[in-house]
């Protein structure tokens, strides 16, 4: 009789263990409906995140960049972006140049230090003028918001109507040009 009870105890414990693991992984997956890129700003340096235009001559790119800025600033994401025209060392250097052999509309580049923060606490936001002219105004807006999401430290997602969709440049099934709840939650979790 005692042996049967022991077997029952063992089975109950194993069942609890398995269910517990499933529950834990499941909660963890829900929490990662956004992804992180390899790096982020130092937590004390996002209020504000200064940005400055270098060599950006296109009015549509200036406007789209500012759209991205205001769309993040209008959310509950921590920190905010603020334009600087005089700062010698802004946290986002915005440029545009022609890279015909780079098959991307825009990108964020940076160096990531060993502690997981940007070296010099800055990133480069590059508009690829070879390709971006093929995009409409709203598409430029969403690409800008997307890149600033990368600056915050978000990575790509592959599904759902989220600004961090990897295919944001041509997406037709979603019309958003601003961060969506999952994007905002990602930034909140990042900082």
């Amino acid at each position: 009789m005692q042996k049967i009870l022991t077997v029952r105890h063992s089975l109950a414990l194993m069942l609890a263990l398995i269910l517990g693991c499933l529950l834990g992984v499941s909660f963890s997956s829900v929490a990662h409906s956004y992804t992180f890129s390899g790096c982020r700003y130092d937590q004390g340096s996002i209020s504000p995140i200064t940005y400055r235009f270098y060599s950006v001559s296109s009015a549509s790119l200036l406007r789209a960049t500012k759209h991205g800025v205001s769309s993040w600033n209008n959310t509950s994401a921590p920190g905010y972006f603020s334009e600087s025209t005089t700062s010698l060392d802004p946290e986002v250097n915005v440029t545009d140049d022609s890279y015909p052999n780079q098959n991307a509309y825009a990108w964020i580049s940076a160096t990531c230090d060993a502690d997981g923060t940007y070296s010099g606490n800055e990133v480069n936001f590059v508009w690829n003028s070879s390709l971006i002219h093929t995009r409409t105004g709203p598409q430029k807006d969403r690409i800008s918001t997307h890149e600033l999401g990368h600056a915050y430290g978000l990575g790509h997602v592959t599904y759902g109507c989220r600004i961090m969709r990897v295919d944001i440049g041509y997406l037709t099934v979603c019309s958003m040009t601003t961060p969506q709840p999952n994007d905002i939650n990602g930034v909140i979790a990042r900082y």
């Binding site: 414990l13 963890s28 440029t95 140049d97 780079q102 070296s119």
Partner: protein, 196 residues
């Protein structure tokens, strides 16, 4: 009985916390110090689409990595003091076959450029051209930017859409979700892609 119940609940809760923590930590940042690039890549609707919008689909073997350089764009200049440009490398590849495009390219050697980090952050390791290995590449020819590589270079689209490693005679996508109507997440025979 209550003690047993408490025991089971405790194990349940503890294992949930541990599994969640392990899963969460598994998605954490790398501790390496390294350059990163995050892009908004051009995405094509199908393998036919990406081929139609590029100059050629080639079977190549990578001969060598020839140079590493910084691409500052069409003006060839840094835009600001901290501008890192794009860290690129040029490679020589030998064209073994042309699946689509100019057949005269067969047997020639071309200069191909790629980011030093593969096709940027979208890349898996397999997407990065490695000397000695063979690939199907979908690529276009461009005049290279000033201060980089002399003459014309070839480059491939990002996000797993232009580099397909050949292993044991089969062509593999570097991502399971790329062009599913062609690859269905797995390898295909080279003949399947040959539209020449």
């Amino acid at each position: 009985m209550n003690r047993k119940l408490i025991g089971v609940i405790s194990v349940f809760g503890l294992s949930a916390v541990i599994a969640g923590a392990v899963s969460w930590l598994g998605n954490g940042d790398s501790i390496e110090s390294h350059p990163i690039v995050q892009v908004a890549p051009v995405i094509y609707s199908s393998f036919e689409d990406v081929q139609d919008q590029h100059d050629a689909t080639l079977v190549v073997t990578v001969v060598s990595v020839d140079a590493e350089y910084v691409d500052y764009g069409r003006d060839g200049k840094a835009d600001h003091a901290d501008d890192p440009g794009l860290l690129m490398e040029s490679l020589t590849v030998k064209v073994d076959d042309v699946l689509k495009g100019d057949k005269l390219l067969v047997g020639t050697e071309l200069t191909v450029v790629q980011s030093q980090f593969g096709t940027m952050s979208e890349a898996s390791d397999e997407e990065y051209l490695v000397p000695g290995n063979s690939y199907v590449i979908v690529a276009s020819e461009y005049v290279s930017n000033p201060g980089t590589v002399e003459g014309k270079v070839w480059s491939m689209p990002l996000a797993g859409q232009g580099v397909f490693p050949i292993v044991d005679g089969e062509v593999h996508p570097t991502r399971a979700d790329v062009f599913p109507e062609t690859f269905d997440g797995g390898a295909v025979a080279l003949d399947v892609l040959d539209k020449s």
